[in-house]
Assembly symmetry: C3
Homo-oligomer: 149 residues x 3
């Protein structure tokens, strides 16, 4: 859905102790940048956390339907965004949650499905883990789960 602009040349992350610091800018979509980092840097697995202003699509689980209805919020500030990076059938697999404040003071939270920086910069620290981890479907949980063994 969101793509990283082909013309984009300025740096979005640097190597720091234990992982990376990503600084995204106005209009940057979070997940494509995180996925791109995972692939370019051959990340085995990682956790991440950050904050900043964004337009966000949150997912809210609905047990009655087993679906995840989504809701979009514009011009909110993700005051905490955290999650993990693993792999799913060779592709980066992100799981992320967040809590955000709207301009009117309303607080919103849930699983973060999409997010685009809106109004300044968004900082994310990525902390590497030294194990290659996959998210696999678990039949008993009826959900994808990080495989540890």
């Amino acid at each position: 859905m969101f793509e990283i602009a082909q013309t984009e040349t300025s740096k979005r992350y640097i190597k720091v102790s234990g992982g990376y610091l990503m600084v995204l800018r106005q209009g940057d979509p979070l997940f494509p940048y995180l996925e791109s980092l995972a692939k370019k840097e051959n990340i085995k697995s990682a956790t991440f956390s950050g904050y900043g202003p964004a337009n966000v699509k949150f997912g809210f689980s609905d047990k009655s339907t087993q679906e995840m209805p989504a809701k979009e919020f514009k011009n909110i500030v993700l005051v905490n965004f955290n999650g993990s990076m693993a792999w799913d059938d060779g592709n980066p697999s992100m799981r992320a949650y967040g809590v955000a404040a709207a301009e009117n003071g309303q607080i919103i939270g849930g699983q973060v499905l999409e997010a685009i920086v809106e109004g300044g910069s968004f900082e994310i620290r990525i902390e590497l883990m030294d194990k290659k981890l996959n998210r696999i479907h678990d039949e008993s949980l009826k959900a994808k789960i990080m495989e540890i063994r």
Copy 2:
């Protein structure tokens, strides 16, 4: 109150850079697993953070009574759960806070007193600290505090 089932044999955590990654499953109680990790792995002290679906008992401080009334919420998603592990008279001592989203969009937060995974998996990254730390009663604060010296 909550116990780890004796029959449970599948792995719940692995060693990763700087600490551990814990992946809990449907029905797993968070604190007993964290306490068990602290004891089994002889953890000196640590901080941790994670997220996932859970039934949670939150504590809310009430200054007028110096008590902490608790409230339970079912089928919520802890979008951020963070805290620290130390020791109190030889036993693991956890202090943890969280913020959660309910299915109806309501946001809840406070000290996390109990939590059980409900509806999938819960990921927690534990980051070790290389100092043995105790929580001790501080008379002037009338509270337990992490002792640093």
Copy 3:
């Protein structure tokens, strides 16, 4: 605005794996202690996260006016406080966000402009980054941004 009391002699932080653990006490202002740490320990840059009871001044961005109106809340619990430390023209530059629970169950969040510990202790883990980073004004964003290159 807030100052660290000259008479204060007890320790507020210790060195731990990858950075520092700060334990603040009743009446301690968060940012002066973080800034003091940055200067005394010659920190290049860092991220931090923590929690605890506090009086907090939150900022809420208002795009229509390009201003950040602030609101103070007393006796709330910051259930997550996270941010980064960099430098701005030789001075420590902090950017921090938080989400808090009030005694009546209300949840509040936003950029944290000021905070003073109120009612016990506040724990903050500071995780160092091995790059000296500056926050510089970016004309196209009309905002200060962490400079990475």
